[in-house]
């Protein structure tokens, strides 16, 4: 079983990333807060399931993503792409050439691996563990996500640094 301190330290460290990803899925700050909070409690109850610290990050993320899905089911909410809130864009802080809209327009199946890879810095293997899919599927989805993103940005060249 993961040491209690290791668990709480990892949870503290990942908190912002877990929230960002929840927000990208749920598009509601209140729901994203619920997802992270409930996910943390659930992860704590089930911490016996993970014995390897190297998998803790992916495991926590998977639990919170599952919680996001539970919330979607429970609250019967649907988020048509056009109605997704724009986060910081509302305050005009970002001049990204439509990148946010293009990312939000991606199917969740493509958007989540993309954000895990380039926003949260997950390895392809960690993404595979998080989403319970083969690494080859992750590679495929990332490829499709980048391609779709390029199409969404009118064939602009998108480089992930």
């Amino acid at each position: 079983m993961i040491d209690e301190r290791v668990f709480t330290e990892a949870a503290q460290m990942q908190l912002a990333g877990l929230y960002r990803l929840s927000l990208s899925i749920l598009a509601s700050a209140a729901d994203a807060q619920d997802a992270v909070q409930q996910g943390m409690l659930r992860a704590w109850e089930r911490r016996g399931q993970v014995s390897d610290e190297s998998r803790l990050r992916a495991w926590l993320m998977r639990i919170v993503i599952n919680e996001c899905r539970n919330i979607q089911r429970r609250r019967m909410r649907v988020f048509p792409v056009a109605e997704l809130p724009r986060g910081a864009q509302e305050s005009g802080e970002i001049a990204d050439g439509g990148l946010k809209e293009a990312i939000d327009a991606l199917d969740e199946k493509l958007r989540t691996p993309l954000l895990l890879r380039y926003m949260e810095g997950f390895s392809e293997r960690e993404i595979a563990q998080t989403l319970s899919v083969p690494v080859t599927t992750v590679k495929n989805r990332l490829f499709r996500a980048r391609k779709a993103l390029r199409a969404g940005l009118e064939d602009a060249e998108v480089r992930f640094l």
Partner: protein, 680 residues
């Protein structure tokens, strides 16, 4: 061409940060997690009081004065939690008693503030002052509702896992056990005996094992801290000897775990302890995963499929999310589920009769109210032909306030006409046991009506209630005596079979009931059933039942036949994969065969490579796995969410399977029916 460079910070800024206040509270909550336990208020029984008194005498009799502080303190705090629950339930007198004990044991270095609090004349002020002091010392962020016995003791004695001696761990565990404060699914610290190797020797052996298994150099373990337990799982006490767990951990690096027996052997999975594997096994697992990733998961699946007989299947697509699939008396299958209409933002419960050609014979729909949350747990056909569907309806006024929650029984005619929506009695009324609030009720097909289950009474005891077709309880099974044994009541053709699992004895518990709920026989305790964790029972002839076990145990599928007193008649075993089996459907009796569908791993620990197979047993060939020839099926398995997997036999030995795929965000669920023709 326009060029956009995307970096991590840019992506992070796209999503508004957490509300500061929420973040502060959440971080505080995470810090309190180690102190969280299930809220409860327990009462110490007289026999515990006597045992505790004896324990104190025994502890006091030990000569080492240095131990007295911790022993007395353990006992004092554990008694309080056992007698009175958590801090917020303690009386002023109990708080005063603990404060006085802390002074007496020399735990408080500076007693001035405590003396002042204890001498305050007004009771209210005295309690307030003590609350403040206890919260400052033991509460997280100064809150009294985070104070627990474990938290108090760790505060005074250091972190349990890392800083306590084996003696203190064992002593504390014994006290927690004595007062029933320790969970059942947990390891219990014990003391090494005279014949066991010393802790230092166990650590040395563990270190050698890690260096060897992971091909490390000595200096690569520099900076790792070592945590030692001598323990075993609670259910294995008295069954197997305890062992050392040596954990070597270093921040941001992989932790190593080594299990060493009392006689100095490195334990492995072959020793059969819960959660125990050798470092060599762990290293091999990591290598297998890396190799599998390099080889490609698809190749593993293809190699597995090449060894299976392939069944042609027919595919029928439907919208919505499947919740149940069952055979109807007219030879069709009944598909029930929930369907969301995104264009009109409306949801409905649906029931559909589907024939062997995938054609809808009839369809009944029942609308879900605006902002309502509906769950559907079972559907069954009565002898009259009418169909009952159990749904639960909830509506939230806001995030925390439930406007209503109740279960409803929908009655549909054999021709698909919705006849009635009957609101069922709440659990408290069904069971006669008061509850602070009503929880969810689940259902399975019963005899003459739905067999519902849930938690009853203030202690959340598991119950089953057999309802008649008007939703009135005919009888209630109170399963509180089997708490800790995971009891399930299963409906069979001629009554019910209760199955539970005695973890310590490694034996199933079986009870047989008639349709009126009268106990017919119980617990034959046939040694031949040892290890058989029964989770499905199907009537298989006069006085004979087919039972299955081991869905989640290393891909091993067991089908056995037992008689009506729980004695083993035949047992068939086959291992399909070394990983677990996932999402098994119900077992369908297809002619003389038994079949179910499931996802399973191809190789142990290679999570990504999975196959969706059809598992069939018959008397001649034993257990076989079939591959269903449907490209979309395996694609869905790899790419999309598959919610649920259901199986039902049609007439003429055909098997219908149903699963759902789709994405959660848009709830564009799609249910697929697969007809396997040649299972017969």
């Amino acid at each position: 061409m326009r060029r956009i460079d995307v970096n991590r910070e840019m992506l992070e800024r796209m999503y508004a940060p957490m509300d500061e206040r929420f973040e502060r509270n959440l971080r505080a909550m995470i810090d309190t997690l180690p102190q969280r336990r299930e809220k409860r208020r327990s009462t110490m029984k007289p026999r515990y009081a006597l045992a505790f008194a004896l324990l104190l005498i025994a502890l006091a009799a030990t000569a080492l004065a240095a131990y007295m502080v911790s022993q007395g303190f353990f006992a004092e705090v554990a008694t309080l939690e056992a007698e009175s629950g958590y801090y917020e339930h303690w009386t002023l007198e109990e708080k005063e008693r603990l404060a006085a004990s802390m002074k007496a044991y020399g735990i408080l270095k500076d007693t001035a503030l405590w003396d002042e609090a204890l001498s305050t004349k007004s009771e209210a002020k005295r309690e307030k002052a003590l609350d403040r002091l206890f919260a400052q010392r033991y509460g997280v962020n100064g809150r009294t509702d985070t104070i627990t016995a474990a938290g108090i003791i760790e505060k005074e004695m250091g972190v349990y896992d890392n800083e306590w001696s084996l003696e203190d761990k064992a002593r504390y565990a014994a006290i927690l056990m004595e007062f029933d404060l320790l969970g059942y699914d947990t390891n219990v610290d014990l003391l090494p005996g005279e014949d066991d190797i010393a802790q230092e020797e166990a650590v040395r052996l563990a270190r050698e094992a890690v260096l060897d298994a992971y091909s490390l150099e000595e200096n690569e373990l520099d900076g790792y801290r070592t945590c030692v337990h001598f323990w075993e799982h609670r259910t294995e006490i008295g069954v197997k000897p305890p062992y050392y767990l040596i954990e070597m951990a270093c921040p941001e690096k992989t932790s190593y775990y080594v299990y060493v027996s009392g006689d100095g052997r490195i334990l492995s999975t072959a020793d059969g302890y819960k959660g125990v594997e050798s470092p060599w096994e762990d290293a091999a697992r990591m290598r297998r995963m890396q190799e599998a990733e390099q080889t490609g998961m698809d190749q593993l699946v293809q190699a597995h499929v090449a060894g299976l007989e392939t069944l042609p299947v027919r595919r029928f697509e439907r919208g919505g999310m499947v919740k149940t699939l069952s055979a109807l008396a007219d030879g069709t299958v009944l598909l029930t589920g929930l369907r969301y209409d995104g264009n009109n933002d409306a949801e409905e419960v649906f029931a559909e009769s589907i024939d062997a050609a995938g054609q809808t014979v009839w369809r009944a729909a029942y609308p879900v109210g605006p902002k309502e949350d509906v769950a559907l747990s079972t559907a069954m056909q009565l002898e009259s032909g009418d169909i009952l569907v159990l749904v639960e309806r909830r509506r939230w006024l806001d995030r925390d306030t439930l406007a209503y929650q109740y279960s409803e029984q929908l009655r549909i005619s054999a021709q698909g006409e919705l006849l009635e929506a009957l609101r069922l009695q709440p659990i408290a009324a069904l069971t006669g046991q008061e509850r602070d609030f009503d929880e969810s009720m689940f259902g399975v097909p019963g005899h003459g009506g739905l067999l519902v289950s849930g938690a009853m009474g203030p202690k959340h005891q598991k119950f089953y209630a057999q309802l008649d077709e008007q939703g009135r309880p005919r009888f209630v099974f109170n399963l509180s005596e089997l708490s800790g044994y995971a009891p399930y009541l299963l409906t069979t053709e001629d009554g019910y079979v209760l199955t539970a699992w005695n973890e310590a004895a490694d034996m199933p518990i079986l009870r047989f009931y008639d349709k009126q709920g009268n106990l017919l026989s119980e617990d034959a305790q046939d040694e031949a059933l040892r290890g058989l964790r029964i989770n499905r029972v199907t009537k298989a002839g006069e006085g004979r039942y087919a039972v299955t076990s081991g869905f989640m145990k290393d891909g091993e599928w067991v089908l056995a036949f037992i008689d009506d007193s729980g004695r083993l008649l035949e047992k068939h075993v086959r291992t399909f994969a070394s990983g677990p089996i996932l999402k098994p459907s119900e077992i369908a009796k297809v002619g003389e065969r038994y079949a179910y569908a499931c996802r399973h791993w191809i190789e142990r620990d290679v999570v990504g490579a999975q196959h969706l197979g059809l598992i069939v047993w018959d008397a001649d060939t034993g257990i076989q796995e079939y591959h269903m020839r449907d490209e979309r099926l395996q694609d869905a398995l790899a790419d999309d969410i598959i919610a649920g997997l259901y199986a039902a036999a049609l007439g003429e030995g055909q098997l219908m399977l149903a699963y759902t795929e789709g994405t959660d965000v848009r709830r564009d669920y799609k249910t697929t029916l697969l007809m396997a023709e040649t299972v017969q």
